[in-house]
Structures are given as structure tokens and as C-alpha cells.
């Protein structure tokens, strides 16, 4: 979905780098190979971008200028205008499991600000330093997510769980992921990855205290992605 935007803006100097946060790289690779992107398409099972940039959900985006300076920190990044219309159609279908119906209904209530986000991106690509969407280093640091003791420890727990998962000791990973979820409950990448490995619909399982639908209901789907501050 980023490919068209990359083709539009690459001649003006923008490169798009996508980073897939999948524990199972094959799941991402299948989707990437369907698109055949001509931009770098990376795999990040251990969520290095959470640790290094403060990513907390997907899709999340970061802008970096020609000198390697971050000019907008992590924020919701979607090129889409609205939730896919088939989600609503599927949610109304009589034969789907109730868990999936609830998930789809919540998903259609998620705020998506693709128009605003892509408009800001086009402005920055065209105007560079003169763009009002480019933030100062002090603003970038202040707007980056919190990283107190709990968030730092959550990153370590997640990485340890992922290492054990990758090493074939899969039964040892969930206890570290549960701890990451407890320490940083608003990091959806830690939760979604763990839930999706236990249940493809990210529904309730014995392994985890919560699930996608329950946690989204708690905050309201309109707050799943924070409102863009452009």
C-alpha cells in the first residue's frame, strides 16, 4: 500500500522503508512478495524499532531528513482514507465466529487519518525545511514516547521472549511477553504479536490475560491510534 506513494514521491527525494514486526518472517514475506516493492522492505522480529524509535503500534511512521535527523517521531502512519469496506460487510455476515465479528466491528471504529498524514508528507517532501510539519529536535524528543523504567524493562522482556521463541524454546517466551504487556500496556506491537501467535484472530487464550477486542473496548476504538498532532 506504500508502493504507489513511493513511486509518486521518490522522484522528489523521498525513500520509504517498511519494517515488518512479524515474529514469523515468512508471514510478512508472503505479503511483501505479492507487492514486489521497489523500496527497502525489512524484517524486524525483535522489534528493534520499538527500542530505537519508540514504535508502539502498527502502522507507525517516523520522518528522517537528508542529514539523518528525525523531524517527526513515531506517530500513526496510514496511507488509507478509511477502514477497508469489506470489514463491515464481513462483520454483518451471519456465518462468521462471534469473536471475529466483535473484532471487525471494533476495527471499523478505528480512527484513520490517511488524508491528513499523506498531505503532511507531501508538503514536507516538496518544501523540506520550509514545511510546517517538520519539527525541531527539541519537539521531536519531547513528542517521542515515554521511556521510563517500566517501558525500558518491557523492551528487554519482549526481546528476551523473542530470542527464546526464535531459539525454539517457544514455551518459555509467553511469560516474558506477559511481563512486557504488564509493564507497557499501551505498546500494541508487543501485545498483537504475542496474541497473534496464540490465536490468529487475537482472541482470548489461556496464555494471556487479555486479547485485542477486550483491550480495544477498554479504551474505545477511536483511541486505538492517538489523534495526529500535525
Amino acid at each position: 500500500m506504500w508502493q504507489a506513494l513511493r513511486n509518486e514521491l521518490h522522484p522528489a527525494g523521498l525513500e520509504i522503508v517498511t519494517v515488518a514486526l512479524d515474529a514469523n518472517p515468512e508471514a510478512a514475506r508472503v505479503l511483501i512478495e505479492q507487492i514486489k516493492p521497489n523500496h527497502p522492505s525489512l524484517i524486524d522480529s525483535a522489534h528493534r524499532v520499538d527500542e530505537l524509535f519508540g514504535v508502539v503500534n502498527a502502522p507507525n511512521g517516523v520522518w528522517i531528513d537528508e542529514e539523518g535527523t528525525i523531524v517527526r517521531p513515531v506517530e500513526p502512519a496510514s496511507p488509507e482514507r478509511h477502514a477497508p469496506p469489506e470489514w463491515r460487510r464481513m462483520a454483518d455476515h451471519p456465518d462468521i465466529p462471534e469473536q471475529l465479528r466483535e473484532t471487525l466491528k471494533l476495527a471499523t471504529g478505528i480512527r484513520i487519518q490517511g488524508n491528513e498524514y499523506v498531505g503532511a508528507l507531501r508538503d514536507w517532501v516538496a518544501r523540506g525545511r520550509a514545511s510546517g510539519y517538520r519539527l525541531t529536535p527539541a519537539e521531536v524528543m519531547a513528542r517521542s514516547g515515554p521511556r521510563g523504567k517500566a517501558e525500558a524493562q518491557a523492551a528487554a522482556c519482549f526481546e528476551l521472549g523473542q530470542y527464546l521463541w526464535d531459539s525454539g524454546k517457544r514455551d518459555l517466551a509467553p511469560r516474558h511477553w506477559r511481563e512486557a504487556h504488564r509493564l507497557q500496556p499501551d505498546n500494541w506491537t508487543y501485545k498483537r504479536q504475542a496474541w497473534s501467535l496464540a490465536d490468529p484472530f487475537q482472541g482470548p487464550t489461556e496464555l494471556y490475560d487479555s486479547c485485542w477486542a477486550a483491550d480495544v473496548k477498554k479504551i474505545g476504538p477511536e483511541n486505538y491510534y492517538p489523534r495526529l498532532k500535525l
Binding site: E15, V17, P40, S41, D44, E51, V140, R147, Q153, A156
Partner: protein, 113 residues
């Protein structure tokens, strides 16, 4: 940073965390934290790094594997200088974000889930 013992290789530590080891201590952005002077080029002690730099150290008792997490310095970014992200691309080739200097970059995290 995954550790199989509490001894941390200095070069690996720099590569993995973005901290740079200088005579005045461990430095990142505007911050320099003094470290014990008697280390030379020997391995660093993970507990010392954890304590001095505010990096959590977590342990898996079954496997005796450790993980040294990122520093807790208040915000996810303590400098606006982009860290060098090095990851494999979907075909397995190593890619470094810093190779795109001279371009504007939109970095997008996504997942199949």
C-alpha cells in the same frame, strides 16, 4: 541486547545500543556517563552498565539467558539524530538505514497481524 553471560563485549555493546565508549565514559547524544576507569578494552560488566546507564537487566532462569534493555532516560528519543537501524530485508540481505543519507526517509513499521 541478548547476553549468554554477564560479560558484555564493548564493540558489540556500541554496535547494538548506539552508546559510544570514550575516555570520559559511555556517550550518546549530549549525554556522557562516567564508567569505571580500570576496564581497558576488557569485557564490560552487564550489572555495572545496567546500574550506571539505567538499562534494565532481565534474566530467564531456565536458560540462563540475560537481556540488557534500552536506557530509561525519560523519552524514547534522547537525541533527534536517527539511530542506525540495521536489519535484514525480506530477501535476507542486510540493510542499513544510514545508507539513505541524502534522501528524505519515511520509516514505516507494519505487520501481517
Amino acid at each position: 541486547m541478548i547476553l549468554t553471560s554477564l560479560e558484555v563485549d564493548p564493540k558489540e555493546f556500541e554496535r547494538r545500543t548506539g552508546w559510544v565508549l570514550k575516555p570520559e565514559g559511555a556517550c550518546k547524544g549530549e549525554t556522557c556517563v562516567p564508567l569505571p576507569h580500570d576496564m581497558g578494552s576488557a569485557a564490560l560488566d552487564a550489572r555495572m552498565l545496567s546500574q550506571r546507564l539505567g538499562m534494565p537487566l532481565v534474566h530467564d532462569g531456565d536458560t540462563d539467558i540475560w537481556c540488557l534493555g534500552p536506557e530509561a532516560q525519560g523519552r524514547a528519543l534522547t537525541t533527534a539524530q536517527a539511530p542506525d537501524l540495521i536489519l535484514p530485508d525480506y530477501q535476507g540481505n542486510s540493510f542499513s538505514l544510514s545508507s539513505l543519507r541524502g534522501h528524505k526517509v519515511l520509516l514505516v513499521a507494519w505487520a501481517s497481524w
